[in-house]
């Protein structure tokens, strides 16, 4: 792509990243969540891949790192759920809610302004899923590009 597109992509990419992370972090308060935020971040990666060529991008984005990121996200997700066993609870029990510790401020019923430090394990799961979707979707794009012939990319 032309220099204008590349520069624009360079400038926009950090904003896309921040916006995606914002969506992930506020998933339990505002519309959004891990999937949506992760998809937004992966869109940023797609933007960079479109602006530059695959051969350049391949040097920056390692498939192994992305796969590791995806696995960490998934293991984090199931690990957060499995941790309920350590508390003597049922699988997927929300042990952090109203516990007073991390993300543990109790929320009464009704309309409120929203407090970031609530939600029990939901924000942790949002982060894990965001991590997983980010890695997974980027990996899909990279693998598909690697399947293309030389002259097509």
């Amino acid at each position: 792509m032309s220099r204008i597109v590349r520069t624009a992509a360079d400038i926009i990419y950090p904003f896309v990243l921040i916006f995606g992370l914002y969506i992930v972090a506020h998933g339990h308060l505002t519309p959004g969540g891990g999937f949506q935020g992760g998809a937004v971040i992966a869109t940023g990666a797609a933007l960079v891949i479109v602006a530059y060529s695959y051969t350049e991008v391949r040097a920056w984005l390692s498939k192994n790192v992305l796969m590791g990121q995806e696995v960490i996200g998934l293991v984090g997700f199931i690990g957060v759920a499995l941790l309920a066993f350590a508390f003597g609870q049922v699988f997927f029990f929300n042990y952090l809610n109203a516990s007073g510790s991390l993300f543990g401020i109790p929320v009464p019923y009704g309309i409120n302004a929203g407090e970031l430090n609530t939600g029990g394990f939901v924000p942790l799961m949002n982060f894990s899923v965001g991590c997983e979707v980010w890695g997974g979707l980027t990996l899909v794009i990279l693998y598909m590009l690697s399947g293309l012939e030389k002259e097509e990319c």
């Binding site: 519309p31 997700f77 199931i78 019923y109 009704g110 029990g120 939901v122 997974g136």
Partner: protein, 95 residues
């Protein structure tokens, strides 16, 4: 041509079915809402999230979401397998 007729007939049957859906259900007035009323009333206290969609997705039906992440993982692994470079002595499919 025969295939086309079969297709048209099946489509008519299908559209009749779906037409019944469109006629029977009313938009804007769900028939029963007891389960969702429970989510809306108690979801905030039980999960600590203001966003009830998230509370349903990650807490009440969190196991579905685990499955959904797994589906994405399946797709990534599948795509990775399809675009792998095959080794030399690998088993070939029979032609």
């Amino acid at each position: 041509m025969k295939k086309f007729i079969v297709l048209i007939v099946s489509l008519i049957i299908l559209s009749a079915f779906l037409g019944v859906i469109a006629m029977t259900l009313t938009f804007g007035a769900p028939k029963m809402t007891d389960m969702d009323d429970y989510f809306l009333r108690f979801g905030q206290e039980q999960t600590g999230t203001n966003n009830q969609c998230t509370s349903v997705t990650f807490d009440f039906r969190g196991f579905d979401t685990l499955g959904e992440s797994t589906v994405l993982f399946c797709a990534v692994i599948g795509v990775a397998l399809i675009f792998r470079k095959m080794q030399a002595g690998e088993e070939h499919e029979d032609e």
